[in-house]
């Protein structure tokens, strides 16, 4: 009688452990995929910013010469070399300078190129921040925090810059 009960309890416990274990493993997998997605999103965003910096330099060369051209070149260089912590303000500075450029004075090709680079940056930023949002949402869950499923991976950060219109 007692052995049967004991066996039953043991079986139930074992099943429970299996289910919880399975859940945790699948959550860990999900989190891993999200971290991969965030990293790839950052790489794509970085590439979009680099592309805009290149176009900004082309604008500095192809646009009307003057103090703004020199500042544009300097801002593009700074944005590309800025460490992650200063990247947002550096990119914002570049956005601000590009907004000042008189686009009607640029060639059609250059204007199109600039608009294309700006739109790509907007998309890449949203794609990256989406990945960050999903990752952070899962990392905040109790099962992730209690069982340290995120491991040693640092929490991803949103990339906040003003969007050119």
């Amino acid at each position: 009688m007692t052995t049967t009960t004991l066996l039953l309890i043991l079986t139930v416990l074992l099943l429970l452990a299996l289910i919880v274990g399975g859940l945790l493993v699948s959550t860990a997998n999900r989190l891993d995929r999200l971290h991969v997605r965030t990293d790839a999103g950052w790489a794509a965003l970085d590439a979009a910013m680099a592309r805009r910096a290149v176009v900004a330099r082309a604008v500095a060369v192809g646009g009307p010469p003057g103090p703004i051209a020199a500042r544009l070149r300097a801002a593009a260089d700074h944005a590309e070399s800025a460490p992650r912590g200063e990247r947002e303000s550096a990119e914002n500075e570049l956005t601000r300078l590009l907004a000042k450029v008189d686009r009607s004075a640029l060639s059609d090709v250059l204007t199109r190129e600039l608009r294309d680079a700006e739109h790509r940056l907007v998309i890449a930023r949203r794609v990256h921040n989406d990945a960050v949002r999903d990752t952070l949402a899962l990392r905040r869950r109790r099962k992730v925090r209690y069982f340290k499923l995120a491991g040693s991976a640092p929490p991803p950060a949103y990339f906040e810059i003003a969007e050119p219109d």
Binding site: G21, L34, L45, D116, A124, V127, A137
Partner: protein, 386 residues
């Protein structure tokens, strides 16, 4: 690029999403991309060559109307086969929030996935209730597109995620080059209206009230109506005097609609609300017809705050009559508005919109450098149980 597009609604019934998907696929094909569209359709339906039918759809009441959707093991197998066979660079799902082919594809696939959200009203509380369960699924979306500001707001506030706003496209040359209907353009003034005129939110009564005020001074003025609805009800609403000034074409094909838009001197959209974008306004602008519309948020946006068309207070027949009167008597102003509309509508042309969509595809591929394949679902379960 090799692009797989999933449309959740059956092509057997006309609809906004279906039209959008077909136009997008055509625009992509013109640009040299490879496109396959997966959509619910019975075997005997006439379909464009790029549509891959996924079998008959079932009618499911959703969001206030009956959506013809698809779900179940057979559909699942078909979606899986389609994804495995095609080896897409990017997968583009439309409206994956409703239980449909799109959601199945999201479950099956892995890789760069773009999702377009058309819904602009968070009316489906049921769907929102399932959000926690759907979260792992939505985590697989790489990039999101919203077709309007409102759709994006729903996305941000209710579904948790940002989206790139890309408007619905309109085939500008198709409308711009349509020939007016026989007998048009005519003297005396023609006002155009397109839509299900018996639906209250379309605002037909407001337009009829406004027309009544104009009848005395414009004794040749006519109203050209395109769209489904009870003709008797319309005539009753109009009253005997106004009824004989109405030319009702009923439900017509796209070409006739374009020709009707080209025939009118003024296009009027007296809508009272519930419009998330205002597709018809872009079509009228593409046809070169000056637009008079109620000042709804969405219309205001399409008409560039009144620079590309006349905005009148919503539901105000007096103001509408005054605006129509002014335009009817001022041909120079009509030409001005027509030119402003044509310039404005360029941003909604498929040529422009398609480029923007392709940019999102490329962004998705950059942010997930794999090809679209099958998700390793079974592997997860196996690991979980070991």
């Amino acid at each position: 690029m090799k692009i797989g597009i999933v449309c959740p609604y059956s092509f057997a019934v006309p609809g906004g999403v279906q039209g959008h998907v077909v136009d997008l696929a055509k625009a992509l094909l013109v640009r040299g991309h490879e496109v396959s569209v997966l959509a619910p359709a019975a075997a005997d339906t006439e379909l464009p060559h790029f549509v891959h039918p996924a079998g008959r759809a079932v009618g499911v009441p959703f969001n206030g109307s009956v959506a013809r959707l698809q779900f179940g093991p057979v559909s699942y197998a078909r979606v899986r086969r389609w994804i495995l066979d095609n080896d897409f660079d990017v997968l583009h799902l439309h409206e994956p929030v409703v239980p449909s082919l799109s959601m199945l594809a999201l479950k099956v696939a892995d890789g760069p996935i773009v999702a377009t959200f058309h819904l602009s009203t968070p009316r489906s509380r049921t769907m929102l209730g399932f959000r926690p369960m759907l979260r792992p699924l939505f985590e697989k979306i790489t990039a999101r597109i919203a077709v309007s500001v409102l759709a994006r707001r729903v996305q941000v506030e209710h579904l948790g995620g940002d989206a790139v706003e890309i408007p619905n496209g309109v085939d500008v040359p198709f409308y711009a080059q349509a020939t007016p209907l026989p007998g048009y353009p005519r003297q005396g003034g023609t006002i155009g209206f397109v839509g299900r005129f018996t639906e209250p939110r379309k605002g037909m009564p407001v337009l009829l009230d406004a027309m009544r005020r104009l009848l005395v001074d414009f004794d040749e003025l006519r109203l050209l109506v395109v769209g489904g609805g009870e003709a008797e009800e319309l005539h009753e609403q109009a009253g005997p005097e106004l009824a004989e000034r109405i030319d009702l074409l009923g439900q017509v094909d796209n070409e006739t609609k374009a020709r009707a838009l080209r025939s009118a001197d003024i296009y009027c959209a007296p809508n009272l609300g519930g419009e998330s974008f205002g597709m018809i306004l872009t079509e009228a602008m593409a046809a070169g017809t000056p637009v008079v519309a109620s000042a709804l948020d969405s219309f205001r946006r399409v008409l560039d705050d009144g620079n590309a068309g006349v905005l009148t207070p919503t539901g105000d027949a007096d103001a509408l009559a005054a605006a129509l009167r002014k335009l009817l008597t001022d041909q120079a102003r009509r030409q001005e508005l027509s030119a402003a509309g044509s310039e404005r509508v360029a941003r909604y042309d498929w040529a422009t919109v398609c480029d923007q969509v392709v940019r999102v595809y490329e962004a998705a591929v950059a942010a997930d450098p794999r090809r679209v394949g099958e998700a390793a679902v079974r592997q997860d379960i196996a690991e979980g149980e070991s």
